[in-house]
Symmetry: C2
Subunit: 523 residues, 2 copies
């Protein structure tokens, strides 16, 4: 049996779980992602730790909840005390290459207080989140030093100071006028770059080149697409590959607007929610959003081929997932963040090449998994220590291998969090930055959301799988709410506290005071 030597950790940005064939989309032809699911396990109840890029990704990269890693919104620095997957791998002589987006924001003040120079070896590693950057590209920021993509675009003939703004996310309308893809009204037209020059194509090229260059050397790669995240601009032919009648209709009811939860109601006043609640917007964006997914799927086909050619399917663990979904007008919301499954529940497919995983190939697993499970899965796959004093997720390999579960079975609920202090909703609600937190507890039947300063939300996912009816203020569900509320104590109690000493360290020091010359309690 060939051991797992390589890791391919693929992330899409803002990809809805229901927008993949293998997760039930009736029209999207995601044959390559579906093929991965057929070879691996499709986790059906995979949740992120927060429905926002930054905190979700920091959880994916640290194996820790948002409460623990503390980077609770985009551009909040990841504390210098946090350890990412790349750093764990480095301890064991491995590295984690990056092609694409991470959203890692360096903890400059943390470095300053420890006299760490930004340009020192450690400073550079921390700035990169301990990824080895083949090409870091966070998308939707004007690319500066972060990526080779703009320079490469210019080399392809896209003459501009800002080729991303002027070409990649710009479109040409039927009259030949250039329009910006920032305005969603324009995304029905194709990108001004040719498809091979688009973000998805470019980053796939970087990934394949790396895999090929590694040859038989072991490797680990994070291929992190910035799509189908906005700006929703697709290159030809993907911009109009899907017709509106091949798109999922918005999931919303007028009744949701009655007695809406104050935080959700405030999010509905955001520009993106107001716009996405109009059919015209949703109808314009959804086909292109599907096209962007189709494009990713097609390019993943190229990655699969490369793996085929190199014989890498037998020794490569593949994780495919997303950092969160996209409302696209569902629940009268745009963007993400709020605690509906549309955003919190993500696709998660794990291909485990081990023969021990043969029995689960092509199956779906309904157990609750989380973005914090990826780091421990990778560490176990490579035979590395579990760093349980710090990592809060659990390896998924016992699930792909139907192995006995330690620690009293598998988790029966998941938690996600939100800090909305950076959003307009905070101003609408007139709250201070430290008063804007919410926690979602999702078990087999219920979804409960605890909010600072507001009544909770409660959804009965059995009776109401689309989460139309908020029972958070309902008198008949008090006992359920109390029960779900109490799970938040269990969850907090499960988080890792003693990060500077592992359990073996504790065990070796238990009841040993006399060994070190301390004889308290003797008569």
């Amino acid at each position: 049996m060939t051991a797992i030597r390589n890791i391919l950790f693929i992330m899409c940005d803002q990809l809805r779980r229901d927008h993949l064939g293998c997760y039930g989309h009736p029209y999207l032809r995601t044959r390559n992602i579906d093929a991965l699911a057929a070879r691996g396990v499709r986790f059906d109840n995979a949740y992120v730790s927060s429905g926002v890029c930054g905190p979700s990704r920091m959880s994916y990269y640290t194996g820790r909840t948002m409460t623990s890693h503390g980077a609770n919104w985009n551009r909040v620095p990841l504390s210098i005390g946090e350890i990412t997957l790349g750093e764990y791998l480095r301890r064991h002589g491995r590295s984690l290459a990056l092609a694409g987006k991470t959203h890692v924001q360096v903890d400059a003040s943390g470095m300053e207080r420890l006299d760490i120079e930004r340009n020192s070896a450690v400073g550079l590693r921390l700035s990169a989140g301990s990824f080895v950057e083949l090409d870091r590209y966070d998308g939707h920021h004007e690319p500066g030093s972060e990526s080779g993509y703009p320079a490469w675009l210019r080399a392809q003939g896209y003459e501009s100071e800002r080729p991303w703004s002027d070409y990649v996310i710009s479109v040409e309308d039927d009259a030949g006028n250039v329009r910006s893809g920032w305005q969603m009204r324009n995304v029905g037209w194709p990108s001004r770059v040719a498809e091979p020059h688009s973000e998805t194509a470019y980053m796939t090229d970087q990934a394949i080149r790396y895999i090929e260059q590694q040859g038989d050397e072991p490797w680990a790669l994070h291929l992190s697409y910035v799509k189908p995240h906005w700006p929703y601009v697709a290159p030809r032919p993907y911009h109009d590959m899907y017709s509106l009648d091949q798109c999922l209709p918005p999931v919303r009811r007028t009744a949701e607007l009655d007695n809406a939860h104050p935080v959700t109601a405030a999010y509905r006043q955001h520009e993106e929610s107001i716009n996405f609640s109009r059919d015209e917007v949703s109808n314009t964006v959804r086909p292109v959003y599907q096209g962007l997914i189709q494009q990713i799927d097609d390019h993943l086909g190229r990655v699969w081929e490369a793996l085929d050619k190199l014989g890498r399917w037998q020794d490569t663990l593949i994780v495919f997932t997303a950092d969160h979904g996209d409302f696209l007008g569902d629940h009268w919301l745009g963007e993400k963040e709020q605690f509906y499954d549309t955003v919190q529940r993500v696709p998660m497919i794990v291909y485990d090449p081990s023969p021990d995983a043969h029995a689960t190939r092509g199956t779906a697993d309904a157990r609750f998994t989380s973005c914090i499970d990826v780091v421990p899965t990778v560490l176990e796959a490579l035979g590395l220590p579990a760093y349980k004093e710090r990592i809060e997720g659990r390896s998924l390999l016992p699930l792909t291998r139907n192995a006995p579960l330690r620690e009293g079975g598998w988790r029966d609920y998941v938690v996600s969090e939100l800090d909305y202090s950076f959003r307009g909703a905070r101003l609408t609600l007139g709250r201070e930055p430290d008063e804007c937190r919410g926690w979602m507890v999702r078990d087999a039947r219920w979804k409960y959301v605890h909010w600072l300063g507001y009544r909770p939300q409660l959804f009965d996912l059995e009776a109401d799988p689309n989460e139309f009816v908020d029972l958070g203020g309902d008198r008949t569900h008090e006992a359920v709410r109390a029960q779900m509320h109490a799970k938040l104590v269990d969850w907090h109690a499960s988080l890792k506290q003693r990060v500077t000493m592992d359990d073996a360290g504790v065990a070796s020091r238990t009841d040993t005071h006399k060994d070190w010359g301390v004889f308290f309690g003797e008569w």
Copy 2:
């Protein structure tokens, strides 16, 4: 009005709240501590974050709960990501001098991963917990490089490789035989060092010398006595200053042993509990324990005199407190850790020289305060930023000054924590290191303890102030337990998560995406 320029933060180790005159002891003549209480505010419901030296002190020094600072037992390193009071002061051109004990354990692996040399400026600061060590002396370890005390003892004529073991904590019995104070049977005899050479006298000398040397320069000093912590050896005349009938009797009832909580029951099997449960032990130790407190009080009189002489009472904030109590046989327990008030509730006196505090001088304040309040109190006293993104305690100055309270009034409960994984109780109970946590919630009436893996404890402090009757399994108190349990959610939700960005940083970035060229949601 003279502003506060100096800080004197005095800590005793293992000092029970009920062992001071101002807190009601009928015989102990703690006239100097009582005098401080008469000039300041005596906080009557002050609690530590954990009833163990290490975690309690790390909370005193960081202003953060044990869950947040993570150093959850003695000798668990304080994470490199944590910031102590000394570091905050240093940012503002001040320093925090140390005379005595801190229990800070450096995070060697954290330094290693960031390439910080132990002997670099930063490495040395971190090793010292950012105290400027006049004389660091953690006590009950053979003093090595940590202190000038052993060398000084030798200079006073105590010839020995280990003068602490051979003299300070050794006694001579009536026949002139040397006996070790580690064995409590021996502590009725006096220490082999003369009183001026004892730990308490020596450390007071260091403190007074520093205060005098500073002259009119502002200063901040942590005077941290290692007494009345074991070994319970007192120098003459303190070893027999109190008779047994001047001591408090053990607070315990036989009925406590029936259906005892499993964790408490396991603690009762510790050697110190078995011994302290015998009258002979308690009767031998209690008079000496009182003598050690009397000695501290007498030496604090010298400190008060030095402040008098230098005119420092007008510009010095003084905090007097302890890191936890000592069971001394109460509840059939020795040592500390379990959640009885004997250990968790500590003396806390704050002398605020401001004229704004005149109205509260000599008063008692029954509001719940915590060891995490000391750092914010000091910062406010010196006019420094509150670092609210990180510090979880609250300044006590609004209480000493009867000032209006922001943030919805004052807290109405406190929480303390325990990780007993290092103790024999864990082995007795057959648990893994990560299964050994407990959380105490204390409000005006109830004390509730949530334990991993065991039933809770509940005490009705109104009906049962001595905590003899554990209602944790009682059917009639289910609603109370649920209510107290839910407070643990509130408490966890109140902890600081986003430590790398302050609220002002959030406020300046709220709803500003368009300012940085990101136009999502536009039509």
